[in-house]
C-alpha cells in the first residue's frame, strides 16, 4: 500500500495522521507539500486536520484550491482512498469531493471532547466489516463542524448509504446528526469531523480510531 499525507500551510494534524497510518497500517507514509502539481499514484491519501490558511475566507476554502488538490480529486475519482478528518473534511467539501458544507458550531465555541458516534453506512472501505449501529468513541476538536446539506442532498446521502457516522449527542448542530460522509466512485472518500488518528492506543484514551483505519489494509 502506498500512502501519503498532504501538508497545507496551517495543517497541524499532518504528523498525527501520518503516524496513525504508519502505526495502524504498517505503511511508510510520504509527506506531500501542497504546491506539488503531480503526484505518484497513491492507494491512500490523507488530508489532515488543522487550520489551513488560518481558516481565512472559510475553513478549507483556500486549501481546496491548492495545486495538489487537482491531483487529489483526480485520484479520488479514480478510486484512491482519500481520508479527511476535521479540516480535511472541510477541504474535501470545498473541493467538491463531498457534498454539503461545514459551518460554525451551534454553540459558537470551539469544542474539544470525546463523542459517541453510531456507524451507519457500512458499504465503504473504511466501515466494511463494522456492524451497523456500533458505537465508536472518538475525539472532536473543532470550531466549524456543523454539517449542512440541503434536503435533496440529504435524501441522496441517505438513499445511497453515504452517511458513515452520526453523533449520538450532536455537539455542533450538524444536520441530521451527521459526523462523517462518504463519496467517490466506490465510497473511497471519507470526510469526518472526529479525529480517528487521535484514538489509536489506550494511552491516548481509546483505540476506536483503529476501527476505521484497519479495514483499509483489505481495501
Amino acid at each position: 500500500m502506498r500512502a501519503c499525507v498532504v501538508t497545507f500551510p496551517g495543517s497541524n494534524c499532518d504528523r498525527d495522521l501520518a503516524v496513525a497510518f504508519e502505526r495502524v497500517l504498517g505503511v511508510r507514509v510520504d509527506r506531500v507539500w501542497h504546491k506539488r502539481t503531480r503526484l505518484d499514484r497513491y492507494d491512500l491519501i490523507g488530508i489532515p486536520g488543522g487550520f489551513s490558511y488560518g481558516d481565512h475566507l472559510r475553513p478549507g476554502a483556500i486549501a481546496a484550491r491548492s495545486p495538489v488538490m487537482q491531483e487529489v480529486v483526480r485520484q479520488a475519482n479514480d478510486g484512491a482512498l482519500v481520508l479527511g478528518p476535521c479540516n480535511g473534511f472541510q477541504i474535501l467539501t470545498e473541493a467538491g469531493l463531498l457534498p454539503g458544507a461545514l459551518i460554525r458550531n451551534r454553540g459558537l465555541a470551539f469544542v474539544c471532547r470525546r463523542v459517541d458516534l453510531v456507524v451507519e453506512g457500512t458499504d465503504s472501505p473504511y466501515t466494511r466489516g463494522l456492524e451497523r449501529g456500533r458505537t465508536l468513541r472518538l475525539p472532536i476538536a473543532h470550531h466549524d463542524g456543523g454539517y449542512v446539506v440541503d434536503d435533496e442532498g440529504l435524501r441522496r446521502l441517505e438513499g445511497e448509504g453515504r452517511i458513515a457516522l452520526r453523533y449520538k449527542d450532536n455537539p455542533n448542530g450538524s444536520t441530521a446528526d451527521i459526523a462523517g460522509v462518504l463519496g467517490g466512485p466506490r465510497n473511497n472518500v471519507l470526510g469526518l469531523m472526529p479525529h480517528p488518528e487521535r484514538a489509536i492506543e489506550p494511552l491516548l484514551g481509546g483505540v476506536d480510531g483503529r476501527a476505521l483505519l484497519a479495514p483499509l489494509l483489505a481495501a
Binding site: 500551510p9 487550520f51 476538536a141 488518528e197 491516548l204 484514551g205
Partner: protein, 735 residues
C-alpha cells in the same frame, strides 16, 4: 551639564523615565537623546524589560542542578530529560492587554510565550494557563472569562499546540486587573539548542516573520504602570495576534534550525526590534548596525521610532552566518514569510540605527541593556496573622453540605467549560488530560512523558508572603509527584502590585524568599521566569500571585498514575499530618465567609521525605491512584478522586480530639491521598514508618456514594452536579 538637561523634559516623563533615569541617560550619551533613543531607553529601562525592582531579589533563586542546561537569562529555561533531549519552558504574563482586550490580549500572550520556546530550537509540545479573574458576580467577569478563554483557544488551537492544563480562580482583588499567565513547553535535541547571543563581526542580522505595523507601541511601558479607568482608552497599544503566521513561523524556524545557517535567534516580544537587537548584542558583547529602510513594514510612512518600538507579533530577529542568507531565505520563501537583511554585527559595542540616510540612534549597548537601573525599593513585611485551628471555629456546617458547597465554589468547580474550548489533544501525545493534578504529554516517539502543572494559592501569599511562596513551590512539586514524575525545575511568573509601595514590595520580597527556600530544599531550581508588577487599579493591588510552573519527567509512562482509582476495595492511605489547620483555608472563605488566619506552615524536610516516598511507591508500581491535598483538604481530594473514577469511597472520620471539620477540610501541607490494593497497603505503611513519614489508613474505595464517617452518603451524581454546574451556569446567564 547645560541648563536644558537639568530639567526633565516633558517627553522623558511621558516615556515613564524618572528624573534620576533621565540624568543617567544624558550621562551615558553625553548629550540629550534623540527621539528614537529616548524611546529605546524608555522601553529597555521599563520595569517589564529591565526587572529593575525585582532583579536583586530574583538573584537569590537557586538556578543550578546537574540536569539544568540553561537557567534564567535566556529566552527560556532548558533541562535535560535524557536520551540527548531537553525540555525548554517558560511562563509569562499578559495581564494588562488581556484586561483591555481579553481575546487579543490572551491570544498574543500565548503567541509570545510560544516564540520564547521555539526560538531556542524546541518544538512546542504543550501550553498551560494560570488565570485569575475577579469575583464571578462582578459585571465584567463573564466578558473577561469568555474573551480570555476564546483568545487562548483561538491561538493555541490554530497553531496546533495542545493546551493541557493550568488554573482558573476568582477573587474580587482581580476585579480591575485580571491575571493571564501563559506557559509553553517544548522539546529539543540537547545539541541543537539555539541561544540569543550574537557573534561574528560582519554577520548579517536578519528579520523574519510577519511585517511590522503600528500596533503595540509602548506595550512594555504600559505593562509597567498602574491601571486607571482612563488608561483603558489605550486600545492601540494592544497587539493583534495571527496564529496562522505563528504556525508558519514555527515550521520555518524548525527548518532553518536544521540547516547550518544560524548563529543566534531571538523573538521580538515586548519592545520588539529594540529589545531583541539590544539583548542579542549585549549577550554577545558586540555591536550592531541596522538600516530601518530594510525592515518589512505593512503600513506606509512608518517612522524610525515606530519601527523600533512596534510590538507587532510573529516576528524573529536572527544572526546568520555570512554568505548563507540565500539558503535561509529559501526556507522563509517556502512558508510565505518576510525575510530581510536589516543589519550587520560590528565590533563597536554600539547600536547604530539609520533610516533614510540619517542616523536616528547611536547608543552604547551595554549601559542600555546590561546596566539598566537596579532599585532596592523599601519593603515592609505583612502584619503577622495568628494560627487558626478548627477548634476555634464558632459555627460549622454539616460536613456533606460544606463539601458540596466547596466542590461547587468558583475556585474548585470543574473547569470543563474552559478546557473543552482548548484543543488539548492535538499532536496526539496528551496522555494526562486536563482535570488531574498535572497534565502529562508524551515525548513524541518515546515511552517517557513530561508532567506539567501551574500552582499558587494567592490567599496564602497575601496572609504570609514567605509561606505562600513556599507553598506554591511545594504544591507544584506534589502535583508532579502524584502522576509519577520526578520534579525537575520550575518557571514562574510573579504578579504583584505597585512595587513603589513598601507593603507590596514586602510581598514580593517575602514570596521570593519563600520560593527560593523551597526550591533549594527540594532541588527544584528556577530556570526561567517573568515578573509582572503594577497589577493594580486605582490604588488597589491584586492578591500577590507568584505562579509556579513545574515540570517533571516520567521515565516510563507505564507507571504513570492519576487521580482516578480503577477498582473498588482499594485501601486509601493518607500521607502526612492532620492537625485541623483552618487559617486562610478555602473552607473558612467559602463556607464561613472569613478571610483570616495564618496559612498552613510548610515543613520542607517533611515535604521532601513524603514526596520521595510517594514517588518511590509509584515507581514500584503499587499505587493505583494518587492525589495531592490542597484547597479544601482531605474531603475535597477524595471527592475529586471519586468523581474522576466513577467509584465511591468510604472515609473514616476518627473520633479523637480533632474536630471533624478540621480532619475533613484542614489544609495542612505535605499531604497525599493514595489508593493501593489491600495487599500492598501494609507494606506502604511500614515503609512510611521506616522513612519517618506519617501515614495512616483512612478508608476504602467502592460503591457509588461518598461516605464521610457517620454522615449520610452523598451520591456521585450529586457531587458531579455541584462540581460541574457552576461554570456553565455562570457563563450561560445567571450565576
Amino acid at each position: 551639564m547645560n541648563a536644558a538637561s537639568t530639567i526633565v523634559p516633558e517627553a522623558a516623563r511621558e516615556h515613564g523615565l524618572s528624573e534620576a533615569e533621565w540624568h543617567r541617560v544624558v550621562g551615558i550619551l553625553g548629550r540629550e537623546p534623540r527621539p528614537v533613543e529616548l524611546g529605546i531607553f524608555s522601553v529597555m529601562w521599563s520595569e517589564h524589560c529591565s526587572y529593575k525592582s525585582s532583579k536583586r531579589h530574583l538573584a537569590t533563586f537557586p538556578t543550578k542542578a546537574p540536569w539544568v542546561v540553561q537557567g534564567p537569562g535566556e529566552n527560556a529555561g532548558v533541562v535535560d530529560i535524557g536520551d540527548g533531549q531537553v525540555a525548554v519552558f517558560k511562563m509569562e504574563s499578559h495581564n494588562h492587554p488581556s484586561f483591555i482586550e481579553p481575546y487579543q490580549g490572551a491570544a498574543t500572550g500565548v503567541g509570545g510565550i510560544l516564540r520564547d520556546v521555539f526560538t531556542m530550537g524546541a518544538r512546542p509540545v504543550a501550553l498551560l494557563n494560570a488565570l485569575r479573574f475577579g469575583a464571578p458576580e462582578h459585571p465584567r467577569t463573564r466578558h473577561l472569562v469568555r474573551g480570555v478563554v476564546a483568545g487562548i483557544g483561538g491561538y493555541g488551537n490554530c497553531v496546533g499546540v495542545p493546551t493541557v492544563g493550568g488554573e482558573a480562580t476568582f477573587h474580587r482583588s482581580y476585579n480591575g486587573n485580571i491575571l493571564v499567565n501563559a506557559m509553553a513547553v517544548g522539546v529539543a535535541e540537547k545539541d541543537r539548542v539555539f541561544y540569543a547571543k550574537a557573534s561574528g563581526i560582519g554577520n548579517p542580522v536578519v528579520y523574519v516573520g510577519a511585517k511590522t505595523g503600528r500596533d503595540g507601541i509602548h506595550g512594555a511601558t504600559m505593562a509597567s504602570a498602574e491601571f486607571s479607568e482612563a488608561k483603558e482608552a489605550a486600545r492601540p497599544t494592544v497587539q493583534v495576534g495571527d496564529p496562522f503566521t505563528e504556525k508558519l513561523l514555527i515550521e520555518a524556524c524548525m527548518e532553518l534550525m536544521a540547516t547550518d545557517c544560524l548563529v543566534a535567534i531571538q523573538d521580538m516580544g515586548a519592545a520588539g526590534l529594540t529589545s531583541s537587537s539590544f539583548e542579542m548584542a549585549a549577550r554577545g558583547g558586540c555591536g550592531v548596525e541596522m538600516d530601518l529602510d530594510q525592515v518589512p513594514v505593512r503600513e506606509r510612512n512608518m517612522t524610525a521610532y515606530e519601527i523600533m518600538l512596534s510590538e507587532s507579533q510573529e516576528r524573529m530577529l536572527c544572526v546568520l552566518k555570512e554568505g548563507q542568507e540565500a539558503e535561509a531565505a529559501a526556507v522563509f520563501e517556502k512558508w510565505d514569510l518576510s525575510f530581510a537583511t536589516v543589519g550587520r554585527i560590528t565590533d563597536t559595542g554600539r547600536m547604530v540605527i539609520r533610516m533614510a540616510g540619517e542616523t536616528v540612534a547611536d547608543v552604547p549597548i551595554d549601559p542600555v541593556a546590561g546596566a539598566s537601573p537596579v532599585y532596592d525599593r523599601p519593603h515592609e513585611p505583612a502584619p503577622p496573622r495568628l494560627p487558626f485551628y478548627a477548634e476555634r471555629l464558632m459555627s460549622e456546617e454539616a460536613p456533606g453540605d460544606a463539601l458540596l458547597r466547596l466542590l461547587g465554589c468558583p475556585d474548585l468547580c470543574a473547569k470543563r467549560w474552559i478546557w473543552e474550548q482548548y484543543d488539548h489533544m492535538v499532536m496526539a501525545d496528551t496522555v494526562g488530560r486536563p482535570g488531574g493534578d498535572a497534565a502529562v504529554v508524551r515525548v513524541h516517539g518515546t515511552e517517557k512523558g513530561l508532567a506539567l502543572t501551574t500552582d499558587c494559592t494567592p490567599r496564602y501569599v497575601e496572609a504570609d508572603p514567605r509561606l505562600g511562596g513556599m507553598q506554591a513551590v511545594v504544591e507544584a512539586w506534589r502535583n508532579l509527584i502524584t502522576v509519577g514524575a520526578r520534579p525537575l525545575a520550575i518557571t514562574n511568573c510573579l504578579n504583584f502590585g505597585n512595587p513603589e509601595r513598601p507593603r507590596v514590595m514586602g510581598q514580593l520580597v517575602g514570596a521570593i524568599e519563600g520560593m527560593a527556600e523551597a526550591c533549594r530544599a527540594l532541588d527544584f531550581p528556577v530556570v526561567s521566569g517573568n515578573v509582572s508588577l503594577y497589577n493594580e487599579t486605582d490604588g488597589r493591588a491584586v492578591q500577590p500571585t507568584p505562579n509556579v510552573g513545574g515540570v517533571g519527567l516520567i521515565r516510563d509512562l507505564g507507571r504513570m498514575t492519576g487521580i482516578a482509582f480503577d477498582a473498588p476495595g482499594l485501601a486509601l492511605l493518607l500521607v502526612g499530618e492532620c492537625v485541623g489547620w483552618m487559617g486562610a483555608s478555602l473552607y473558612l472563605r467559602e463556607v464561613l465567609g472569613r478571610e483570616e488566619g495564618a496559612p498552613p506552615p510548610v515543613d520542607l524536610a517533611a515535604e521532601r521525605r513524603a514526596g520521595d516516598m510517594v514517588l518511590g511507591l509509584i515507581e514500584a508500581g503499587i499505587v493505583r491512584a494518587a492525589h495531592d491535598l490542597s484547597d479544601g483538604g482531605l474531603a475535597v481530594a477524595l471527592a475529586e478522586m471519586c468523581m474522576a473514577s466513577g467509584f465511591g469511597a468510604c472515609l473514616d472520620v476518627p473520633d479523637d480530639n480533632l474536630s471533624s471539620t478540621g480532619w475533613l477540610f484542614g489544609e495542612e501541607q505535605g499531604r497525599y491521598l493514595l489508593a493501593l490494593r489491600e495487599a500492598d497497603a501494609q507494606g506502604a505503611l511500614d515503609l512510611a514508618r521506616n522513612v519517618g513519614v506519617l501515614a495512616r489508613r483512612v478508608g476504602t474505595t467502592g460503591g457509588d456514594t461518598l461516605i464521610l464517617g457517620a454522615e449520610p452518603p452523598i451520591s456521585l451524581d450529586e457531587l458531579r452536579a455541584r462540581h460541574e454546574g457552576f461554570l456553565p451556569r455562570l457563563m450561560n446567564g445567571g450565576a
